[in-house]
């Protein structure tokens, strides 16, 4: 078997007395879409936070494409090619949509004082190039969005904000995309629409690897190649959606059935 793109082993995260991740092993193959499910408080978001360097691991290690990212600062992990969204939206609402997308491009942009301050011609050429790329990406999610590129993010509806947040994570072509409950705060119709767009984008980028946290089982069924169930920070089950959904242990813990 080839080395997985993401390989996390024995992850342990504790918050005081709470063990949010309890020896979690999880690996994801390149190009795969993994659905991560589990009851509230089962450690899904903590898993993302641990991978992206926002919480400290008490034990365990994580590798991305063979290189160790355990214990690195978030910005270093970003440089390894992980991009993410947040369960509670973290757009910079007072800035424009374009500014938000350019935050996603931070590691690509030229921050040298020379081009930024003095050779404005070169700088504005870069702005124009980036604006075009941003419009193209936004258009994949909604035909109306490109026209709103220079509006404040605050002016957008909830679904458009979600779209922009996903675009911000996608724009740099990350190796691994982590989506934390992208459907939170949206209607089922809006969620379905968002997933259609996401699948379309994924179809254009076969190398893109995605881990998506969702509480909406229909979404998971539709988008994921494989599904991982967490409970109390441990992996309860793993496999294709149909098999996992039929697993009596999962049904008891997650779907609340006996």
């Amino acid at each position: 078997m080839t080395t997985p793109l993401l390989d996390a082993r024995g992850l342990v995260v504790r918050f005081g007395g709470v063990t949010a991740l309890d020896g979690l092993d999880l690996s994801v193959a390149a190009g795969e879409t993994v659905g991560l499910i589990g009851p509230n408080g089962s450690g899904k978001t903590t898993f993302f936070n641990a991978l992206t360097g926002f919480v400290r691991l008490a034990a365990g290690r994580a590798q991305l494409a063979g290189s160790d990212i355990t214990g690195l600062e978030p910005r270093r992990i970003a440089a390894h090619g992980i991009a993410r969204t947040f369960q509670r939206l973290r757009l910079l609402l007072e800035l424009s949509v374009f500014d938000n997308l350019m935050l996603g491009q931070h590691l690509v942009l030229d921050h040298g004082p020379w081009s930024n301050l003095f050779v404005r011609r070169r700088f504005t050429a870069e702005v124009r190039r980036q604006a075009e790329a941003a419009r193209a990406l936004l258009a994949a999610f909604s035909p109306g969005l490109p026209a709103r590129l220079f509006e404040p993010a605050r002016a957008l509806t909830m679904i458009d904000r979600r779209r922009v947040e996903i675009c911000r994570a996608l724009i740099r072509d990350p190796a691994l995309l982590l989506l934390d409950e992208p459907s939170a705060g949206m209607t089922p119709d809006e969620t379905a629409e968002l997933m259609t767009d996401l699948l379309a984008v994924k179809a254009q980028r076969p190398a893109l690897t995605v881990v998506i946290i969702e509480h909406d089982m229909a979404v998971i069924e539709r988008v994921s190649d494989r599904c991982v169930v967490l409970d109390y920070g441990r992996k309860l089950a793993e496999g294709p959606y149909a098999a996992v959904a039929a697993d009596p242990v999962v049904r008891r813990a997650y779907l609340g059935e006996d």
């Binding site: 910005r75 970003a78 800035l95 931070h106 301050l117 011609r121 404040p152």
Partner: protein, 381 residues
């Protein structure tokens, strides 16, 4: 998008005439009439929706408007050529703007609070006193040295600033400002409580402190030369800060201010950008202090109190956090009004505090709120 230059130009000229009248007004009723007229003008602009047109016209023609503003300052200075005090106020406003630009970059853009603005202003001032007395450094470089030292000494605050958040950061800068003043008072080499004399500015053999003699009867104020110097500094600082704001660097500052978590998730080196903003800001504040010291000829610890730092912060809040343009009306209000309105002179601190509270409550964006970033401005399209 084409937008005529005239609305912005008209607004600029009207404002310049008003400011000139205010600076030259001697009678209290005249000062009050000008303030009322300014209020009326603002009301009319709002009533007839001129503001948005003026803003758009200014944004689309930023270079022309910038040049026009400089020409107007030169014109105003020329009109006041025989009025020492009016010119001194004009210079002070411009230098306060330079310091305000530094502070708004730190505080309003990168979100690094600094309640020791007066201390960094003071470092620039004392550096100028020492370099101009003890060395033969050309005076333009003395002023830059003032900025350099402010940035350098500011770097002792960098570690504590990075390790703390919010109120604690504010407290650290307050403590630094108080320590700085105490240090000056007990330091005999720097003149102790009496302070130091600062030589006047000399450029290419011209001593700025000599009055400019035109003929036997007419003599122009020596502040005219300082007005030129202040204009040069404020124009350079303004153009610099605006370009910075409209670049990827400005975006990084904003991201650090608004959401450190989101910023670092996308690779932003939060600490490095904070240090950059803090140092650049202190440099500008130090430059302003150095020029101010050379103009007034004198530095003493009593000019660099916590109260003076608060005045600087109130200029920044009044103008609008992060707004470079807003510093113009804000500096005018804070510097000129108390000098002109005898009734409020004693209560200036109280009134500024009230003004800041009122602004924060009713117009949190400030007098001229910062606009969305437009990267295209300032470049050929």
């Amino acid at each position: 998008m084409t937008s005529s230059v005239w609305p912005a130009l008209a607004a600029l000229v009207v404002s310049a005439v008003g400011v000139l009248a205010l600076l030259l007004a001697e009678k209290q009723w005249a000062v009050i009439a000008i303030i009322i007229a300014a209020g009326a003008a603002m009301f009319l602009a709002r009533r007839f929706d001129w503001n948005e047109r003026i803003r758009r016209s200014g944004a689309a023609n930023s270079r022309k408007v910038f040049l026009a503003a400089m020409v107007l300052v030169v014109g105003a200075a020329f009109v006041m050529r025989e009025h020492n005090f009016a010119l001194l106020m004009l210079c002070t406003v411009m230098l306060m703007m330079v310091a305000g630009l530094g502070l708004t970059l730190q505080f309003g853009q990168a979100g690094v609070v600094n309640f020791a603005g007066a201390a960094f202003f003071g470092i620039g001032a004392y550096a100028a006193a020492v370099f101009a007395t003890k060395t033969a450094l050309p005076h333009l470089l003395v002023i830059l040295a003032g900025g350099f030292f402010a940035a350098l000494i500011g770097s002792v605050l960098v570690l504590p600033l990075l390790r703390t958040r919010g109120h604690y950061t504010a407290l650290i800068t307050i403590a630094f400002g108080i320590l700085f003043k105490t240090f000056l008072e007990v330091n005999d080499a720097l003149g102790g409580p009496q302070g130091l004399k600062v030589p006047g500015f000399v450029l290419f053999g011209h001593a700025f402190n000599d009055p400019i003699e035109i003929d036997e009867e007419t003599e122009w104020s020596f502040y005219l030369a300082y007005a030129g110097l202040s204009l040069l500094l404020v124009a350079a600082a303004y153009a610099f800060v605006r370009r910075l704001e409209r670049s990827w660097i400005g975006l990084a500052f904003d991201a650090v201010r608004i959401d450190e978590t989101a910023a670092s998730a996308f690779g932003v080196n939060v600490a490095a950008w904070k240090i950059a903003a803090f140092s650049i800001g202190n440099f500008l504040i130090g430059v302003a202090g150095a020029a101010y010291a050379m103009m007034t000829g004198f530095v003493a610890p009593t000019s660099f109190t916590f109260g003076d730092s608060l005045i600087l912060v109130s200029i920044v809040i009044l103008g609008g956090l992060g707004s470079a343009l807003g510093l113009i009306p804000a500096a005018l209000v804070v510097v000129v009004l108390p000098e002109k309105l005898q009734a409020i002179q004693e209560y200036r601190f109280l009134l500024f505090a009230l003004l800041v509270i009122v602004i924060l409550l009713v117009r949190p964006g400030g007098l001229l709120p910062r606009a969305l970033r437009d990267y295209r401005v300032g470049a050929p399209r």
